[in-house]
């Protein structure tokens, strides 16, 4: 849950759990394999960040399709503007 605010080093994530670092690392490995988080070595610490897309469920699916339609209509509108000065738009290709 804490990764919602941004990436954190594994040591910071592990501290409040009371588990040993190797145990925490094994748990994180499972989450990473599931595509829920990404980790990368940065200097001496391993940074952990959430992968928001993987958590998107059915509720977000329609929102994604809607944003696609919204953007498509934006593009149609912008394209129509380029035709605005012509009386009879010819296909450009």
């Amino acid at each position: 849950m804490r990764l919602g605010q941004g990436p954190l080093p594994v040591s910071v994530l592990a501290a409040p759990t009371g588990f040993a670092l190797p145990t925490v690392l094994r748990h994180l490995e499972v989450l990473e394999q599931a595509g829920l988080i990404r980790t990368e070595k940065r200097g001496r610490s391993r940074m952990c960040r959430a992968v928001p897309v993987a958590l998107h469920g059915a509720a977000d699916w329609l929102a994604a399709v809607r944003s696609e339609w919204e953007a498509r209509t934006d593009r149609l509108e912008a394209f129509l503007e380029t035709l605005e000065d012509e009386h009879d738009p010819e296909p450009r290709d």
Binding site: A58, W61, L62, S67, E68, A71, L76, L80, E81, D93
Partner: protein, 155 residues
């Protein structure tokens, strides 16, 4: 048309262009290809046979993802007013098994010197849709969505 808020969406906008122009942009392949997908995706080989049972097809080249072709079947054509098609059927009303599963309606009405533009997209019920998401069919429509925010400004 009865919409299900869990599976359907309706988008309503006023466009400055007249219905005749909006219609051409939706129905002439050479025009459609210029705005249908967000850059850098390239839409090509659009096929639109404007009659019930006619083909509505686009092919998209998506960088680093490959090529995706969507073949649909036109259901209804009222020139400059109404275009309805689905991907649940192929050209000639032939049922297809591997569709994402939508019916789309583009509705145009004159409004002032412009157009009252409505786009309606109806989809499968969540359960039916889920099985197709699991099979990976979601990608066809979802892929482009991620790029849209960056791209809209550039257009």
């Amino acid at each position: 048309m009865i919409l299900n808020p869990e599976t359907d969406l309706e988008l309503v906008r006023h466009l400055r262009a007249a219905p005749s122009k909006v219609w051409r942009c939706w129905t002439e392949p050479a025009l459609l290809e210029q705005w249908f997908a967000p850059k850098p995706v390239v839409t090509r080989d659009a096929k639109i046979d404007l009659r019930p049972g006619g083909i509505f097809s686009t092919t998209m080249d998506i960088p680093e993802m490959g090529t995706q072709t969507g073949d649909g079947c036109i259901l209804e054509v009222v020139p400059e007013r109404r275009l309805v098609w689905t991907d649940l059927l192929g050209p000639g009303y032939r049922p297809v098994g591997d569709a994402f599963g939508f019916t789309a309606c583009i509705l145009l009405e004159p409004e002032g010197s412009g157009t009252l533009y409505r786009a309606i997209a109806m989809h499968r019920t969540p359960d039916q849709r889920k099985s197709h998401e699991d099979m990976g069919f979601h990608d066809g429509w979802g892929t482009a969505a991620a790029q849209l925010d960056d791209v809209a400004a550039a257009l």
